[in-house]
């Protein structure tokens, strides 16, 4: 027998042996270690499951978990009694209006998959401001201050305990979520490109509006500028919004804001087939109806 054939025969005999020897460990795969025990659910948890998880695949996380928050911030969960009112607020001012105008599955299709409710103020280190909420990667919106909100106070200005604040935050953050799905026309950021500043809080509202920004925070960057326009329009009736614009002394500033408004309206109708003014009518009425 030639050496070449001996080699082939040897390999052919040994290979099955090797596979056989490896095969003896296949029994080491055991049962899954993942616990499938259902969690203990309160009545509130069941209500949230039925009203948010099942219809919209949105989880309302209200129980404090260190990993949900920046460990350097001193935050805590809200009172349980405050959770359902805020969940219902989301239904009334956000889910129902968007679904009514954008289609019954609009929120189910484009929504953050988690809301995190936080009870206390989120102070920003180094400056006299607090964070009202934020959106993360199109997947999560966090709302702060829930334990301090008063549903009898309908105040659109700087009243920290007005219930308009979380509504504005939701509309603001959901604007970001939409923008993370469909980008805003880059020309939007060129309308008042020289007015953006990270030190926006050092300037008054009058200054911001004189430069063509709807709020002080809109000066932070073009993304916040866009969603500040969205949220400021959605929390109040169109007539009230028009009055704000028309009261700005600078005609140029009025024109800049009207230009931004037009781009917002165009963005909604082009990308989501949503009549923004129809949406505004529903959301602003919901804000009024929520007052206790």
């Amino acid at each position: 027998m030639k050496i070449k054939n001996i080699f082939k025969l040897t390999v052919a005999l040994i290979l099955p042996l090797m596979f056989f020897s490896c095969d003896r460990n296949t029994d080491s795969l055991t049962e899954s270690q993942i616990s499938i025990e259902p969690p203990i659910r309160s009545m509130l948890d069941i209500w949230l499951l039925d009203n948010f998880v099942k219809p919209y695949n949105i989880d309302i996380r209200y129980k404090f978990n260190e990993s949900d928050n920046d460990v350097a911030r001193f935050l805590h969960g809200p009172f349980e009694s405050n959770v359902r009112p805020f969940a219902e607020l989301l239904q009334k001012v956000w889910i129902e209006p968007y679904n009514a105008v954008g289609g019954e599955n609009f929120i189910a299709n484009i929504a953050p998959r988690e809301f995190v409710f936080s009870g206390g103020f989120n102070w920003n280190p180094g400056n006299p401001t607090i964070t009202l909420g934020f959106a993360e990667a199109g997947a999560r919106i966090t709302l702060f201050n829930l334990d301090f909100i008063d549903f009898t106070i309908l105040d659109f200005d700087n009243n920290l305990i007005s219930y308009v604040n979380p509504i504005k935050t939701v509309q603001h953050e959901y604007g970001h979520i939409l923008n993370q799905n469909v980008r805003v026309d880059i020309n939007y950021g060129l309308i008042t490109k020289n007015g953006y500043t990270g030190q926006w809080f050092d300037f008054s509202l009058d200054v911001a509006r004189s430069l063509g920004f709807i709020t002080r925070y809109a000066r932070n960057n073009e993304n916040d500028d866009f969603v500040e326009m969205v949220s400021e329009m959605l929390i109040r009736p169109r007539a009230d919004y028009d009055a704000i614009i028309n009261d700005i002394p600078s005609i140029d500033a009025q024109a800049l804001l009207r230009q931004k408004e037009a781009m917002v309206v165009e963005y909604y109708i082009t990308n989501f087939n949503i009549d923004f003014y129809a949406l505004q009518e529903l959301t602003s009425q919901a804000v009024i109806d929520l007052q206790q």
């Binding site: 050496i3 404090f64 001193f74 349980e80």
Partner: protein, 422 residues
């Protein structure tokens, strides 16, 4: 060469083949899977928390650097609810909130929703005065004869749970919180915190002891053998029967670690009005000097000291900013001794008007607890902004009576004013 190469290749091939099989042979270091071991660690803490049907009396020190501790009574339930009351402030009603035992580095007790007690201590130290920088998450550290120690890694806080010994948690915990707030029935009728007591050992004075209820800090002072004045702040908490030192310490050479225990417990003796060490009946805290409540000392003119005390406006005085000067007059309402009337002194700028923007501003005095509050809510300061969430207290034991209030002044940050009698 060709043959040799082939032989070597076959040998190497076989060796590699067997070696690769060999690495799949695992050794079980533990009898249980990782998830089972994690669950066991969590269950250990869960079982401990549920082991006391009438709950725990705990002491919580939110911050290692601060000596102030708080009594919190808590009862853990199977449905992941926790009943809680405390002596943190006057709101002592039992609340029900959510807790859970989670796993981080080890088993953790997490207070998951606002419980209106421990949660009050979870405030940003940079967010305003009175903030304690506490936490919601506590790592399980140890169980020493039923005393459960949990640690807050972020703030170096410590939460120590002791079996409450209550027969009925709901009623007894509230009663306990009520009296610990005012230093307890064992101290009833006294103003324990303001003045020092002597500490006696075998009849000799070995030091002085004082406790400030505002800061919750106890202080021990003594003259050591070399004549040096020693002053030490110590962690101490008030119990249903007296006071307990939390950490081992020494009082002029007398160690608080006695008979093998690190805690020095003083029980109040009602007949002698003394605090007597449980482990040494000759170690006594005595000689309380009372601070009488003298209403007549309150009436008069007061200087106004005011400024922002946090954020970027910290240190800013409205008087300087507006170019104004302030002084107020304070007097009891002749028709109602529970109302203290505050008016802006003639010739000075308007510093304070009440929440309804009228004057005088009325401080309501609870004659039982000597606590103060604003009759018409947070006042308006310097005709500028309202002081929201404002606290109000007074010091009637110092040589000069003073009133202190702080709160959030509009969106400009936390602000404090002090009226000091001239």
């Amino acid at each position: 060469m060709n043959k040799t190469l082939k032989k070597h290749s076959i040998v190497a091939f076989i060796l590699v083949g067997f070696w690769s099989c060999g690495v799949d042979e695992t050794e079980n270091l533990f009898d249980e899977s990782p998830s089972e071991r994690i669950e066991n660690i969590k269950n250990e803490l869960r079982t401990l928390l549920l082991s006391q049907p009438e709950g725990f009396s705990s002491i919580y020190y939110p911050n290692k650097a601060v000596k102030a501790g708080y009594n919190i009574h808590m009862k853990f339930n199977q449905d992941l609810s926790v009943e809680m009351t405390s002596d943190i402030d006057a709101e002592t009603a039992v609340t029900i909130s959510a807790y859970d035992v989670l796993f981080g580095h080890t088993a953790e007790l997490v207070f998951q929703t606002n419980n209106a007690h421990q949660t009050k201590l979870v405030r940003d130290p940079n967010g305003g005065p009175g903030s304690k920088g506490g936490s919601n998450t506590f790592e399980y550290h140890s169980n020493n004869n039923g005393i459960i120690t949990l640690l807050d890694v972020r703030s170096d806080g410590i939460l120590e749970l002791r079996p409450s010994g209550f027969v009925n948690f709901t009623t007894e915990s509230v009663a306990s919180s009520d009296f610990t707030l005012v230093a307890g029935p064992v101290l009833e009728g006294t103003n324990f915190e303001e003045d020092s007591r002597n500490i006696f050992l075998d009849g000799d004075v070995i030091g002085q002891f004082s406790y400030d209820s505002a800061t919750r800090v106890a202080t021990i002072a003594y003259t050591d053998a070399s004549g040096g004045e020693q002053i030490e702040e110590v962690r101490m908490y008030i119990t249903t029967t007296g006071i307990t030192f939390f950490d081992p310490t020494s009082i002029n050479g007398t160690a608080t670690s006695i008979n093998g225990t690190d805690l020095l417990v003083f029980t109040y003796n009602e007949a002698s009005e003394q605090y007597i060490a449980d482990d040494n009946s000759n170690l006594i805290i005595d000689d309380l000097v009372l601070c009488p409540f003298d209403a007549s000392a309150i009436n008069g003119a007061y200087n106004v000291s005011e400024m922002f005390v946090g954020g970027t406006n910290g240190g800013l005085q409205l008087g300087s900013f507006f170019g104004e000067s302030y002084q107020v007059d304070i007097a009891f309402d002749p028709a109602d001794p529970s109302r203290i009337l505050v008016t802006n002194s003639p010739g000075f700028n308007n510093f304070i008007i009440d929440g309804n923007q009228s004057t005088p501003t009325v401080f309501l005095l609870d004659l039982a607890t000597l606590e103060l509050s604003y009759e018409a809510g947070g006042p308006r300061i310097a005709l500028f902004r309202f002081l929201s969430g404002a606290s109000l207290s007074f010091d009637i034991c110092s040589d000069l009576v003073s009133f202190t209030s702080n709160g959030l002044l509009g969106q400009f940050g936390f602000y404090e004013f002090i009226f000091t009698k001239q």
